[in-house]
Amino acid sequence: MSIGRGRGKARSKSSINVISENLGIGRGDIVSLTNTIQPQDTFPPLLRQPQPLLESTQHNYLIALKQEFRNYMRDSPYHIQPETKRSKIERYSDRFKQYNTHKELEWVPNWNMFPGELRMRTSRQANRPEIKPRMVGRRQDHSDATLMKRLEKLQKSENLNTEDDQVSEDDFGLEEDDDVEEDLDYVQNYYDDDYNAFDDDADEGPTIFLSQVVKLTAVFICL
């Protein structure tokens, strides 16, 4: 009988018990183990004192570079600030405000790098007047020779007109001023919107601008 009982006992052993015995965990240990399992602390206590951080002049330089980079990026145009919050009560005027507070990109992207859908009309383009400035005269007058001819013509006509009535010329002059202003706007826009802002040199800008003014005035006086 004793043999049989022994066999029975051996059979009744569950596999978990065998594993735990094999691993050296006693009967009572399993219960105590399951009871103590709890989520870890956010800041578990350090068992050992950690090694001190490596510090040298090179490390200090790296830190300086790191902080400089961070500060530069924070102040750069690439750092996009959240818009100022609008009031909860919607007002009619808000529609216009929102439109105006849109910040544009402060840098000129090379659009080859980006997918086409990211390219949006800037508000400067959107604000451009519908009426296109008269470009015919400007386009024709590219060479200096034609310009000189026109100036000569102008002088002749001026000599003829001096004795004519003064009032009409004054009116004409006013109109002309307006036109020139509008067209100057156009000239500025034309050069501002140029593809790459870095291309137009600082010294080149004003000279072109002046020559345009001369040409334009010439054209309008002609007309």
Binding site: R48, R74, P109, N112, F114
Partner: protein, 479 residues
């Protein structure tokens, strides 16, 4: 990739480009690949803001895009995680260039990192302005020197053309001409390769001695593999070439070259290998073996610092024997069986060690099963890498909290600095000015800045481990 990495990427973007870009990035990360419409839907930004964010992020290579579809083109955006994670390394890159090519090259690289990607002309113009305003001897720096330095950086592979320019293969098109040339960016792979080479030399110096390190550095100099940090081996260098290189570098090492090479090839590290026998032999460096050894070295030191010397002993035995039973571990480690078991199980619960079951009989009875302990190196490396990223994230968030708490003081000190600068430019001596900050405020600000500096130092200290573990992981993925 895991949430830890995602958190870090979002935090890095937040640091540089502000909360709006950070939100965009986190949305893209959650959805993997995503269209503009979905971005707007998830973030709630208007079209213009989303456009601006994406422009900035694409320019700095945090986000890339793919266009698909024939008639209706859809653009899908995804986050370039590996590129984003190289951001903490930027100071190291700048420092490498400074040490190799001097201060002017440093400024060029730094500006290129600021811009993300840029035209050469506009970049050099910015550099010129910056150099002329900072350096005392202005006349030494002009456009020509900048140009030549830029060319040097390109030839060393630190700066490369952007993909758009290189992949097209038709440079003189109308499109590229109107854009004013090619865009340039920093090639992070070259820097990683350089860092790897320094690590190899350091490793060999620590294992053997200075001379062995010199020999290895000569072999690395002769390496002309083009695929950078992805290659498995260096190109082979003959004995003569090595001798010649040593003559130039450190002539007093020449007589010992042969014996150093013998020692290196005989060692069981397998980092330096003999490939040919004729003419004194040719040698190469096996990077895969180095990555493995270096990763092991890092993991072992982590175990030692975290679990103590006894655990370290047990861990290195398991690592060396590959598969081992716990009784043998206790015997080899010369630690009492009960203690050894406890240490082993601690390592097991922390996932540093795994158990492989080997059944002797087909009934899977635990009595007739071997329980073999082993170290899952690949798994462990990626786990530790994530721990490192998490650590950087934690350091960054503590820093941000710290600065947020003291934001009023920081702003005030900035204003004070600006006003003193303006006053000194007007000719007022700084001593005559009133202090805008009180002494207690100064103290508080000082302690805040000390903490920030300490946290930054922590971030920089982690980078070595990240570099080692990433190299190992990448190498495993490739092969």
């Amino acid at each position: 990739m895991t949430t830890g990495v995602h958190q870090l990427v979002v935090s890095l973007v937040d640091d540089l480009f502000g909360p709006i870009c950070a939100k965009t990035v986190s949305t893209i990360l959650q959805n993997n690949q995503i269209t503009m419409k979905e971005i707007i839907q998830h973030t709630g930004f208007d079209r213009r803001t989303a456009n601006q964010c994406l422009c900035v992020l694409i320019k700095h290579r945090f986000v890339r895009y793919e266009e698909s579809g024939e008639k209706i083109r859809t653009v899908r955006y995804s986050v370039d995680i590996s590129q984003s994670l190289s951001l903490p390394f930027y100071p190291l890159f700048v420092n490498i260039v400074k040490q190799q090519h001097g201060d002017v090259a440093e400024v060029v690289l730094e500006e290129l990192l600021h811009q993300g990607s840029s035209f050469k002309d506009s970049l050099l113009e910015i550099c010129l302005v910056r150099l002329q305003s900072s350096i005392k001897d202005k006349h030494t720096v002009n456009m020509e020197t900048l140009n030549s330095i830029f060319e040097v950086l390109v030839s060393r592979g630190y700066v490369e053309k952007t993909e758009e320019a290189t992949e097209d293969g038709e440079p003189p098109t109308k499109k590229s001409r109107s854009s004013g040339g090619v865009m340039w960016r920093v090639n992070t792979h070259t820097f990683y390769t350089f860092m790897r080479d320094t690590q190899i030399v350091e490793f060999i110096k620590n294992r053997f001695d200075e001379g062995a390190g010199e020999v290895v550095s000569v072999i690395l100099l002769l390496n002309n593999q083009i695929d950078g940090d992805m290659s498995q081996c260096s190109s082979s260098a003959s004995y003569d070439q090595i001798l010649h290189g040593l003559k130039n570098k450190s002539p007093n090492m020449v007589p010992f070259a042969k014996s150093y090479l013998d020692i290196l090839t005989d060692s069981d590290l397998g980092i330096v290998k003999l490939v040919d026998d004729y003419g004194g032999g040719s040698f190469l460096i096996n990077f895969s073996n180095f990555y493995l050894e270096f990763a092991k070295h890092h993991i072992c030191s982590i175990v030692r610092e975290r679990f103590g010397p006894k655990s370290h002993r047990i861990f290195s035995i398991v690592l060396a024997k590959r598969m081992i039973e716990q009784k043998q571990v206790a015997e080899l480690a010369l630690i009492p069986y009960k203690d050894a078991k406890e240490l082993l199980y601690t390592l097991y619960t922390q996932n540093f060690i795994e158990i492989q079951e080997l059944h002797r009989t087909p009934d899977f009875s635990p009595l007739r099963t071997f329980y073999l302990f082993h170290v899952p190196i690949e798994k462990l490396t990626s786990k530790l890498l994530n721990v490192c990223y998490k650590a950087i994230y934690n350091l960054m968030s503590i820093r941000k909290d710290n600065l947020n708490e003291n934001s009023r003081l920081v702003d005030k000190s900035l204003r004070a600095d600006a006003s003193t600068l303006a006053a000194t430019q007007q000719g007022i001596a700084p001593e005559d000015l009133e202090d805008m900050l009180t002494s207690s405020e100064k103290q508080q600000l000082g302690s805040c800045m000390r903490i920030v500096k300490r946290l930054d130092l922590g971030e920089i200290n982690i980078l070595d481990s990240i570099c080692a573990l990433t190299h190992f992981g990448n190498n495993q993925n490739v092969h």
